[in-house]
């Protein structure tokens, strides 16, 4: 996890920093597989237990479709997040006009200095 610092003054810049990690990290794929294996085995142990060790029926009924619920929830979260970010994507009008000005100034100056376009 990244320790994010406070928001900088003025233009909303963000500072991020992280202390040196002492050992080589597992690959992201490795982390996901480990996590899934852990959660998967816990789920299997609880939801698919042999008759002798079962939890009461209501718990098992809720647990069984849990993976699918989580997947759907994640899907909804993804759509909502991307949708929100899409809607709040800034458009920079001033930067575009500023650029046009720069371009004409640059062409004039360089032509004066001998550049053959």
């Amino acid at each position: 996890p990244v320790g994010a610092g406070g928001v900088g003054a003025g233009r909303g810049s963000v500072r991020l920093s992280r202390p040196l990690s002492p050992q080589a990290a597992m690959t992201k794929l490795g982390q996901w597989l480990c996590g899934l294996a852990l959660l998967g085995s816990a789920w299997a142990a609880l939801a698919l237990a042999p008759p002798g060790l079962q939890l009461p029926a209501p718990y098992r009924q809720a647990l069984l479709p849990l993976p699918v619920y989580l997947l759907v929830a994640f899907g909804c979260y993804s759509l909502a997040t991307v949708g929100y970010r899409l809607a709040t994507f800034n458009d920079c009008e001033e930067a575009a006009t500023e650029l046009q000005e720069h371009i004409s100034a640059a062409r004039a100056d360089l032509r004066r200095r001998g550049l053959r376009f």
């Binding site: 920093s17 970010r85 899409l86 360089l110 200095r113 376009f117």
Partner: protein
């Protein structure tokens, strides 16, 4: 910014068929550096463009002086070690001929502020943004970024913006460690930087669509982005 005058900056410009953009970019950079009082060099790395980009680069070298413009067709790896600047700014994405003046100075200011190893421009935070993008392109950008954040948890909000300022030693170290090519290379730099514990600061930037030339983004780019993302996911 009296203290800033002592540091020299190297700007890396890889080019391919950028005959029309190149003079503008160089002019903007030269002006920005002159105003901020920093010593600089611009290294133009042309990949054998058939449109005469190299010729324009040579003309620029005559106008600005050989200590300021270096043009060559070497592989970018060697150039890092030869550049004399203390900070290296890379510009790998020609889709932008951005507000260099403001963007560069804010990159530099951020670096000094937090003594960061890397300062990265982001289109997704603060008042960063884009201009001239249609809905489809914005959606692809946000979707791809979301996927990247979920899979890689990189600690930086914009991995493909490619407007960054590195300390030279940091860049050298990262170049040694990175193995990808093309697009994915920039993403890998940030991921590796985080693994090595380097500090990364962010600054909002405006990404204005290119005025000249063709944008190199299409179905192929998306596929190779996904392939690259999955490779990074599996190997870092």
């Amino acid at each position: 910014m009296a203290a800033g005058g002592a540091d020299k900056f190297s700007v890396l410009l890889p080019t391919y068929n950028e005959r029309e953009n190149l003079p503008l970019v160089v002019w903007l950079l030269a002006r920005t550096f002159r105003e901020s009082g920093n010593n600089f060099e611009i290294i133009i790395i042309d990949d054998g463009s058939p449109d005469g980009t190299q010729e324009i680069a040579e003309q620029l070298e005559k106008i600005y002086g050989s200590d300021k413009i270096v043009s060559c067709i070497f592989c970018i790896f060697f150039l890092i070690f030869y550049s004399v600047g203390k900070y290296v700014k890379s510009l790998e994405n020609w889709d932008r001929v951005p507000g260099f003046c403001t963007s560069f100075t804010s990159l530099k200011k951020k670096q000094k502020e937090g003594n960061f190893d890397i300062v990265s421009g982001t289109r997704y935070k603060g008042n960063g943004g884009v201009y001239g993008w249609d809905l489809k392109r914005k959606l692809i950008s946000r979707g791809a970024n979301f996927l990247t954040q979920v899979l890689l948890r990189p600690g930086a909000s914009d991995l493909t913006g490619s407007f960054r300022l590195y300390r030279k030693e940091v860049l050298q170290k990262l170049m040694e460690k990175c193995v990808s090519k093309g697009y994915v290379f920039q993403m890998e730099m940030i991921v590796r930087a985080r693994q090595l514990g380097y500090t990364i600061g962010e600054v909002p930037i405006s990404f204005v669509d290119r005025v000249y030339g063709e944008s190199k983004l299409g179905g192929n780019e998306i596929v190779s982005f996904l392939k690259g993302l999955l490779t990074l996911f599996a190997t870092t």
